[in-house]
Symmetry: C2
Amino acid sequence: MSGSGIHKVTVLGTGVLGSQIAFQTAFSGFEVTAYDISDEAVAQGRERFAGLAKTYQHDGVPGAADGKADEALARLAATADLAAAVADADLIIEAVPEVLTIKQETYEKLGKLAPEKTIFASNSSTLALSDLVGYTGRPGKFIGLHFANQIWKFNTAEVMSTTETDPAVFDTLLAFAAEIGCVPIPIHKEKPGWLLNSLLVPFLSAAQDLAFGGYAEPADIDKVWRIGTGAPKGPFEILDIVGLMTPYNISLHGDAHQQEIAAWLKENYIDKGKLGIASGEGFYTYPRES
Amino acid sequence: MSGSGIHKVTVLGTGVLGSQIAFQTAFSGFEVTAYDISDEAVAQGRERFAGLAKTYQHDGVPGAADGKADEALARLAATADLAAAVADADLIIEAVPEVLTIKQETYEKLGKLAPEKTIFASNSSTLALSDLVGYTGRPGKFIGLHFANQIWKFNTAEVMSTTETDPAVFDTLLAFAAEIGCVPIPIHKEKPGWLLNSLLVPFLSAAQDLAFGGYAEPADIDKVWRIGTGAPKGPFEILDIVGLMTPYNISLHGDAHQQEIAAWLKENYIDKGKLGIASGEGFYTYPRES
């Protein structure tokens, strides 16, 4: 079906992001097999797919209400049999848990189970591709492919080459990203944090510095950013969406100053159950009066 | 006219920002005296005011086309006589050149010329308030008041207290900021870069790192930011508006890595006359095809 040459796609992991990747790919007309480690996990994955079909309709994704969401479900198989899942895949998108040994073991298995043609793409947010490539048995066909949460709304697909990725594979993935309705964002060299997080982390960190340092209130910092740049959301509004555990964990592993920020987040927010929108309160209380 | 208790305002300096501050204040109903160092500078200032009256009408600032812009001009005096300019001021907003000795000398004169009641507010973007306060003769009545360029569109007014600012003066300025149609942004402690630039500088710096490092193209970095955060402009679009000399000068005074960034900006952009929108080309060529 496609200029990329990709027809059959396997997605490993049916968690929040894995299920979105699988569904979006199927929604875009590809035959997709989703894999997870147990029948139970697979059943949960299927529930996520059904939920996504409703979400796409509810959010008005074009075509979703006219049968496309249901057709996507029909194109979406799910199994706990890894060998069967990858047997004829043109592309495997790996979205298994962000634990180095789990990913390394997964790639060791894939290297043996998948046919030679298969491209391996990792959606890993925090682990380095260079720590995985040695386990793939096919460095030229290993690449990064990173999606944002709520892929149907925030439809960037960052495609990241390692030093060993075959340039043709890079081009294939850029084409594939467009074919699944995403905006392909080429990244020519390995970059921890990809592009979006490489911008977000220092930006959000600067905002936390201002509030932690007692210079200004989060709401005022957000205000000056919104008005000054025309952005719809300021840094603390973004942090509430991301959830405060993420900056907390990042700061906790940083330098002494960062660890002070972590302690400030813990004492003032996390220990009080203010974890962001998901917990009903973060830097703001939800639902917000506007 | 006002809850702030401010009635007569003097603005020192009729450059790009000083003239905007003076005009916006007069436009909001205050009697304003603009001061500049020579009759020639004052005449240029008057031309700027006339230009701003047209811009407010052209940009559709509410009321501007219905006589308010002309009324503002009528409320706006201009003089090269400093003593006369400040003789009865409730508030002096200082927007003289960003040169430490010029500002210090200005405050030394003001301390003697202005009546005791007068509040001194500095719009200084880059110089520290703590390097100026000692010259004012009235630390309790000295405060920061910072506006963005194109004040009629980007209407934040950052109000920054020093350790010596009288809390009542802080409140007065917050009220005054609202009275001139701005959104007051309280800053409780001295912060180099104020709030907006404290966020922009690390954000724009991270973006330049990505392009300088060869990870991705400016247009792709902008794209991922726009889609990922919903912002209307990415970092390189913002840099083109700011003008590339600003990040160049910031990087030039930074650490070794920052100086590499400066050299990269110089070689690839500045030496080629690509200074941003104002020069017709920067990271993008203008007018842009969209």
